[in-house]
Symmetry: C2
Subunit: 217 residues, 2 copies
């Protein structure tokens, strides 16, 4: 580019990729509200780039279902219907149960230790009522487990679902008024220790679909 904003002392990743990654994590972690509008020039201003990289990042996120593109081309984070949330939760259950099942035979003690450490962080976020922190550490817990499945295509699919649920997860967990740490995570860890696949599948399914119960309210 003509104006290098940062010295080239480190590996320079493409501008559109930097914008994409930043927006992606912000959306996945629930840092943006559902229905929030975005503009290409605004994104470009925020990241110090022109419209072109902003457009590419937005297009990519739209393709992944993380952003909604109105008929006039305006982009905003989607407001999901209850039916769509149910579908996405069902997809989480299908894919993540399979990922956990594939990770089980490879789950050694070091992994279980790391999961327990992450889970204590999750509990801490719940106690602090930090919705964004809770979502972030909770996803870290799941991703750490699923990475052991050695199934990158499935993991990518699961992350796409997380991405689509991001903005509403924030609203969902913000409505959630509990302070108890996640019980299902303990069941997951216990099943991993015991090598008990049926219990693991049940625990993951329960953990993943639990947030759905508050839709009736």
């Amino acid at each position: 580019m003509t104006l290098p904003t940062r010295p080239n002392t480190e590996v320079t990743t493409a501008a559109h990729d930097r914008v994409y990654r930043a927006l992606r994590t912000r959306i996945m972690h629930g840092e943006v509200a559902p229905g929030e509008a975005l503009t290409l020039r605004g994104i470009g201003r925020d990241f110090g780039v022109s419209m072109t990289p902003a457009r590419e990042a937005v297009r990519r996120l739209v393709a992944e279902g993380a952003l909604f593109l109105s008929s006039s081309g305006r982009v905003s984070t989607p407001e999901l219907s209850n039916e769509r949330i149910e579908e996405l939760a069902a997809l989480r259950a299908l894919i993540e149960v399979e990922l956990a099942s594939r990770a089980l035979p490879r789950a050694h003690m070091a992994l279980i230790d790391r999961l327990q450490t992450i889970n204590s962080n999750v509990a801490e976020m719940v106690a602090k009522r930090d919705a964004v922190g809770y979502i972030r550490t909770n996803l870290e817990f799941h991703r750490t487990l699923y990475l052991r499945a050695q199934a990158p295509a499935m993991l990518a699919m699961a992350e796409t679902v997380w991405l689509q649920l991001g903005p509403t997860m924030r609203a969902l967990y913000g409505r959630l008024r509990r302070t108890e740490p996640p019980q299902d995570h303990r069941l997951i860890i216990a099943a991993l220790k015991a090598g008990d696949e049926p219990s693991l599948r049940l625990a993951v399914r329960s953990d993943v679909t639990k947030g759905l119960r508050l839709l009736a309210g």
Copy 2:
């Protein structure tokens, strides 16, 4: 645009969307070989647009896993490893079994008739050894059934998997030297008629994972 190549007598869809759709169906139907390289200027030339819409279409397809982006930015259709193919087939099984199961209670006679008609087209393509035609009609068969599930998010996910498998499906079915019509499709139709959900799940799973057997060769 400054140069309207077509008169505006019909509804004009955005140029990048037209390019995207055209490339997408070509990839999904297996009309491009795995590893085939694409250039932005070449795509622009083919569709009579500049690089900008071509770039957006390509970015979108990369995001969906339909195209592979090398580290230097070159795009090509991906050459899938056997492990990745196995993953994608497992995803197809998971998602499509669920879709079929959800479609079952809504499957009336009119739908079953349409499925039988499409299936005869599939058989015709098999007899003619038309790989592209086979893939196209086969996907039409599945999509017609899954549309009844009223689960757009799941269907989109399934189509994304089809898209990723597109280029290799062509190679796979090209290697397939059979002339018998798809037996599993008949089982699917029979299960739909009988309202037999377990049989339906089995038949869909079998149909979807069948192409995998020839990977050992």
